[in-house]
């Protein structure tokens, strides 16, 4: 691929997903784009590039971005985050949201849904002894295909059982000929929306905890700052932002600071946290 053509894809990816790709990855680009070239009926990648330079179909852009970004995930990826959510953050929120009796969670960049279901499951388990509390969860992604998969909530045996404990599996999933289906009980209060962290989106309101794990690690510094600004805007004054282990970037927005003892959890620098209500016993795994 010529450098000029490469720049077309680099720009699209940067605009749409915030991911900045390195020219050394041209080979990867070609292998990932080939199925899209075939799907849209272009004779070569070059002819598809020409179309993208002209007036591109938004659907084509969607497919290109989808092909170039990673959507790999699995149940309880980032296990320490679920421990922190269940043992620390939910118990803290129980003290702070006594009137509302509900927690709002957001899985930002939910891919095929495993993270969203694990968040819902963890929150429910943590609220077992607190009757009448509700869990509301929004899961968003830029890929319609991923969202459809996520919302369906059907996983094959291998995916379902690998990181899930058998007790969780039989409690929150039911067996079907397709594999293991998320039970309706867990689906209650969970919704899926197509949304891009870099675009002006509808206002989803504020959340008590947001998981945005291994999503913005490949973003350019500018895109990352924009995404963080968006996430901070949607966080309650005492909300928590959970990151993944691949998120090794430095936050230079100044919007967040690390929750002491939990390196992957960020809190708002100018937030309003009742730190004395935060459980201190034990330590995360």
């Amino acid at each position: 691929m010529r450098l000029g053509d490469f720049e077309v894809y680099r720009d699209i990816l940067l605009q749409e997903s915030g991911v900045d790709i390195n020219p050394e990855k041209t080979y990867l680009l070609e292998s990932r784009l080939t199925p899209i070239v075939t799907k849209w009926g272009y004779p070569t990648i070059e002819s598809m590039t020409l179309a993208l330079r002209a007036v591109p179909d938004p659907e084509l852009i969607h497919d290109v971005v989808q092909a170039m970004t990673s959507n790999e995930t699995w149940f309880f990826r980032e296990p320490q985050n679920y421990v922190t959510l269940g043992k620390y953050v939910i118990p803290y929120l129980v003290k702070q949201r006594k009137r509302k009796k509900s927690v709002r969670l957001w899985s930002a960049g939910c891919s095929t849904g495993q993270e969203a279901w694990c968040m819902a499951l963890t929150a429910r388990e943590a609220l077992l002894e607190h009757k009448h509390w509700k869990v509301e969860l929004l899961a968003t992604d830029i890929s319609n295909e991923s969202l459809e998969y996520a919302e369906r909530g059907i996983y094959n045996q291998h995916e379902a059982q690998n990181e899930t404990s058998i007790r969780q599996l039989i409690k929150y999933f039911e067996q079907s000929r397709m594999g293991w289906n998320v039970k309706d009980e867990l689906k209650t209060g969970v919704s899926f929306e197509n949304s891009n962290l870099l675009h002006e989106t509808e206002d989803f309101g504020r959340f008590d905890a947001i998981f945005c794990c291994n999503v913005i690690n490949e973003f350019s510094p500018e895109a990352r700052a924009k995404a963080l600004d968006n996430l901070a805007y949607h966080l309650e004054d005492d909300g928590f932002l959970f990151l993944g282990s691949e998120d090794k970037w430095v936050d230079d927005t100044g919007l967040f600071t690390t929750l002491p003892g939990h390196p992957h959890v960020l809190i708002l620098s100018d937030g309003d946290y009742k730190m004395t209500d935060f459980p201190v016993t034990g330590s995360p795994e």
Binding site: Q157, E163, I166, R167
Partner: protein
């Protein structure tokens, strides 16, 4: 080094499981059915047991029920590893005292993640 007993009537499955579990840092013993496994446990109670369901002489389920009634039989963590994949079987296994349950086919990653979940291994980045 923690110890593990692998119970399966297939020599091939025992071999594969043994290689995985030894590689993950366990010493390993083998038994080809529940009765033999019970005798092994009378001599030496392992820390971990990986057991198949369907075996001649004594099934995995019967073995686990008997194991949990033995002196010291509440110590081992027990993972069923079987082709029986329906809810009824899973519930019976848990009632009998199984710690975890793997539906075959299995692989190294699956065994490793179950061992981490039940606290038999630390979660280390390979």
């Amino acid at each position: 080094m923690p110890s593990c007993l692998i119970i399966d009537d297939s020599r091939l499955v025992r071999q594969v499981s043994r290689r995985i579990v030894e590689d993950l840092g366990f010493t390993c013993g083998e038994a080809e059915d529940g009765k033999h496994a019970y005798e092994v446990c009378e001599e030496f109670m392992p820390d971990l047991i990986i057991v198949d369901w369907n075996m001649p002489v004594m099934s995995g389920l019967e073995f686990v029920e008997k194991l949990r009634a033995m002196e010291g039989g509440d110590h081992p963590k027990v993972i069923f590893c079987t082709t029986e994949d329906n809810l009824g079987h899973i519930e019976r296994a848990l009632r009998a005292g199984a710690t975890e349950y793997i539906m075959k086919p299995f692989n190294r990653d699956m065994i490793q993640s179950k061992l981490i979940q039940i606290g038999m291994m630390r979660n280390e980045v390979a």
